[in-house]
């Protein structure tokens, strides 16, 4: 319990956060990559040397500048339509950030209150919710996502919606499980004896104790979101054609692989690095917290 | 009565801490003697007990001193040699019987395994001996109990089984670490009484570790009061309570709530 309390306290102050970062190589590394991603994504229009959709057909299939045939103007080369890969990569980061952050916030907004209510109130409400969750989880998530896209159409916001629909159960189950433990502790009984209503107890006693766990699940959710977006965009079911996304870049890159393998390798590498880093960050946070916290699914 | 165990200037430290958890502890235990290690939580008494068995937690290390058992320094033995001693010459009784017994095995299996290993008894002999031991600790229907799993027995029963196991190989020394804390007061009296009887019958020495000074007063021959890793006072029991010297002992005695005078027979009885 002690480490959980300290962890929560650390999240509250800047000095605390810095101490947290310094405490674990995993956390530091994961956070650094995440930070780089977010900064790139947010400042994309300023960082990106070219318009990602600007086509220079005469200068297609250029390799990265360090290889022969490369050009310092296009540091990472160009794709089949002469679009600058670096610029597309940077804007792809925006997509990744937007999708992962929004999807995570939305799944948390659904899963956390539901998980808390379910775990705290128990009884028929809990049974009903868990039944829905169980049934929902028996569908392959990617299938759910694809089905939704085919109904609603493509586009970045529909991708987010698809992720939320496919994965809201994650937060729900994990939070509920933790709440089942928390509700047995004496301070919850104490709150009851003072006269707080169940709603007040869930909001003020239970929720703050679940926040550290939420941050861990959030990193996991973000990596899931990015994965799904990349997969959908790769399949052409993701973002619209003019939006540069790492997924669509990979799909494109595959088609002209012979002419410039880097068109596919670079966005693939970026995706892998980000997902790995998020998982490492999550691991580091979990280790730092309490070894008994296990994540399902 | 010769000296069975001599702990000399024992020092134990945990990883990441800058002071010793056990800091220069010395005491002896004679044959057929119950030696009490008494103190509050954090005093270092449990760790001292575990070090005699050389069963420290992974982040603890013995950084000084000797533990002489029958003249041999236990700290100089190899793990293999130590294993021959553990469970046979020196055994342990822990606080929580349910966690010391393996929940996946019946009592019979656990007892028979130990007897086979340490005494070389064959299956049927071992089982008969187990029944005898259970009878000795006052367990009714021992054959039935042998077939049960630990969770099917009450705390008091389990603790008695633990005592039976601890004494079954006729050890010279038993380390009892808070053996009655998890028990109700009436069962505690039964268990303590039992331990006294075993000591008399088998001439076994016991290191009795507890935070309950009153309990130690009634079972131990000698008591060492521990505080923050050191022994502050060590005397034969009667002397300790008649004329305690160290301020900490005095403070402890002061703070121990005394039940006081009370009748222990009812007026409705014979």
């Amino acid at each position: 319990m002690l480490s959980l309390e300290r962890f929560g306290e650390q999240l509250k102050s800047t000095r605390g956060v810095l101490k947290l970062l310094a405490s674990s190589k995993k956390i530091l590394f994961g956070f650094a990559v995440l930070l780089a991603l977010v900064v790139t994504g947010v400042f994309a229009p300023w960082l990106s040397p070219f318009d990602p959709n600007e086509q220079t057909l005469g200068r297609a299939y250029l390799p990265p500048f360090w290889l022969s045939g490369g050009d310092a103007e296009h540091l990472l080369g160009t794709d089949s339509l002469g679009r600058d890969i670096l610029s597309r990569l940077i804007h792809g980061a925006s997509v990744a950030v937007y999708v992962s952050v929004t999807a995570t916030i939305l799944t948390a907004a659904i899963g956390v209150p539901l998980g808390i209510a379910s775990g705290y109130l128990r009884g028929r409400f809990d049974e009903a919710v868990m039944r829905v969750v169980d049934i929902w989880m028996s569908f392959p998530p990617v299938l759910l996502a694809i089905t939704l896209i085919s109904i609603l159409g493509t586009g970045i916001n529909n991708v987010i919606l698809a992720i939320v629909v496919a994965d809201w159960t994650r937060f729900t189950r994990v939070i509920r499980s933790e709440v089942l433990n928390i509700r047995e502790r004496d301070f919850i009984l104490a709150a009851k004896s003072i006269g707080f209503s169940p709603l007040q107890i869930m909001r003020h006693e239970v929720l703050p104790n679940v926040l550290p766990l939420i941050s861990i699940i959030a990193t996991l959710e973000m990596s899931v979101a990015i994965t799904v977006e990349v997969l959908l965009s790769y399949a052409g079911l993701g973002v619209k054609a003019d939006t540069p996304s790492w997924g669509s870049m990979i799909a494109d890159g595959l088609s002209y692989f012979r002419l410039n393998p880097w068109g596919m390798l670079i966005p693939l590498a970026a995706t892998i690095i980000v997902i790995l880093s998020l998982n490492i960050l999550g691991d580091g946070l979990r280790e730092r917290l309490d070894p008994r916290l296990t994540l399902t699914r | 009565m010769s000296e069975l165990l001599s702990v000399e200037d024992l020092k134990i430290r945990f990883q990441g801490q800058d002071s010793n958890a056990v800091d220069g502890v010395s005491f002896t235990v004679r044959e057929a003697e119950i030696m009490g290690l008494v103190g509050e939580s954090g005093a270092g008494k449990s760790i001292t007990g575990r070090s005699v068995l050389r069963l420290l937690p992974p982040n603890g290390r013995i950084v000084g001193g000797r533990i002489l058992f029958k003249g041999v320094d236990l700290l100089s033995l190899s793990e293999e040699e130590m294993r021959k001693i553990r469970g046979k010459e020196i055994t342990a009784i822990q606080q929580d019987p349910l966690s010391s017994l393996n929940p996946a095995f019946r009592i019979r299996d656990q007892m028979v395994d130990i007897l086979k290993m340490h005494l070389g008894l064959k299956g049927k002999e071992a089982e008969e001996y187990s029944v005898k031991m259970l009878e000795e600790v006052g367990i009714p229907n021992p054959e039935v109990v042998l077939r049960k799993f630990p969770h099917q027995l009450s705390g008091g029963m389990c603790q008695r089984v633990m005592i039976a196991i601890a004494f079954s190989c006729n050890p010279t020394l038993v380390i009892a670490d808070e053996p009655t804390t998890a028990l109700d007061v009436i069962t505690q009296a039964l268990v303590v009484n039992l331990m006294k009887r075993m000591k008399e019958k088998h001439r076994t020495s016991i290191i009795f570790i507890t935070h309950n000074l009153a309990l130690a007063a009634n079972i131990c021959d000698r008591i060492a009061v521990m505080r923050l890793g050191k022994i502050v006072e060590m005397k034969p029991t009667k002397d300790l309570f008649k004329s305690p010297e160290h301020p900490y002992t005095l403070a402890l005695l002061e703070a121990v709530p005394k039940v006081g005078r009370r009748a222990s027979k009812i007026r409705g009885g014979e």
């Binding site: 002690l2 104490a190 003072i194 | 009436i186 935070h211 006081g260």
Partner: protein
């Protein structure tokens, strides 16, 4: 009425599965009669001790009597009001006056709240003005410095946390405080401090206590009246000194004899049989399997709790003529 709270024929059951497959299929459950027809009352400005061993139901009694657990039968009269079936706002009105302090100082305070909020929020809930000042007053009453208000529970020691739990309870200016094994999880030296504090607070705020503990020595120093519980029932109840001088129930006597003491010689009654549990309650008197004085009738009928001398009740066939 001179009692602040009174329980009449109070019952609390827990229903569990038996762990046997046949019962699972037949939907047969096991009923734990944790509190089984208990009558108990706490006079104003006094302390009633409830003693017994783990599993006897004393903690359950303490929690049920303040409606923390829902009673399954009987009545609870608090300040002359029948609160047994009150709900919502009606119950909340009364909650302020009946508080509880728990055994474990490590789990009874919300680790994510500052001490200040732990004490202040209940005050705000019940509409106290100037709640921050009351927080400091409460901290002062329990002997903690004002600065502690800004700390988190994990920064305090076990004894200090227990004081915070007390401060939280008394800040609401209750009339009844249930102390549920409040000294059992702290070191002996801290125990003495807590007891002293409890007595002081009782004087200062005219509190009534229901003091639950398995430790007879502690209960003796603080209670005016003691109830002895065994497997869900009160087997004896008397004024403190009368109980110690003249125990009537065989269980009480066995309890007294079994406690090791520094000053007095130890002659425990070595009772036969096993310490029973709520899972194996027998017909008739629950103590009968272990009782050295058991008669025929003890195995057939439960003895009622009756008053045999002034203020001294016992449930035992030995005294029924």
């Amino acid at each position: 009425m001179s009692s602040i709270i009174e329980a009449q024929r109070l019952q609390k059951f827990f229903i569990e599965s038996t762990g046997r497959l046949a019962d699972l299929l037949l939907r047969r459950k096991r009923i734990l009669r944790a509190v089984d027809n208990v009558d108990i009352s706490v006079p104003r400005n006094q302390t009633v001790g409830v003693v017994g061993e783990s599993g006897c139901g004393k903690s359950t009694l303490g929690r049920t009597i303040i409606r923390l657990y829902e009673p399954d039968g009987g009545r609870i009269i608090f300040k002359n009001v029948d609160i047994t079936h009150l709900r919502g706002e009606d119950l909340k009105k009364h909650r302020r006056f009946m508080q509880i302090v728990f055994q474990n100082p490590y789990s009874s305070l919300n680790p994510r709240q500052k001490i200040r909020d732990i004490i202040k929020r209940p005050l705000d809930l019940h509409g106290f003005d100037d709640s921050l000042r009351l927080v400091y007053e409460a901290l002062e009453s329990v002997g903690l410095p004002k600065e502690y208000a800004e700390r988190y529970p994990h920064q305090l020691s076990g004894g200090e946390r227990q004081r915070v739990a007390l401060a939280r309870a008394i800040a609401l200016k209750p009339e009844l405080v249930v102390a549920d094994e409040v000294t059992s999880s702290v070191d002996v030296s801290i125990q003495a401090q807590i007891l002293k504090l409890l007595k002081k607070l009782q004087e200062e705020f005219k509190l009534s206590y229901l003091f639950i503990s398995h430790d007879l020595s502690v209960v003796r120093t603080i209670s005016q009246k003691i109830a002895v519980m065994y497997l869900g029932k009160v087997v004896e109840e008397a004024q403190t000194e009368a109980l110690f001088e003249d125990p009537m129930h065989p269980y009480t006597a066995a309890l007294f004899a079994s406690i090791p003491d520094v000053d007095t010689p130890w002659e425990p009654h070595l009772l036969k049989g096993e310490a029973s549990s709520l899972y194996s309650v027998t017909k008739g008197c629950r103590f009968q399997p272990r009782c050295p004085y058991a008669k025929q009738i003890c195995a057939e009928e439960e003895p009622p709790l009756k008053e045999y001398s002034k203020d001294h009740k016992v449930a035992c066939w030995l005294y029924e003529r």
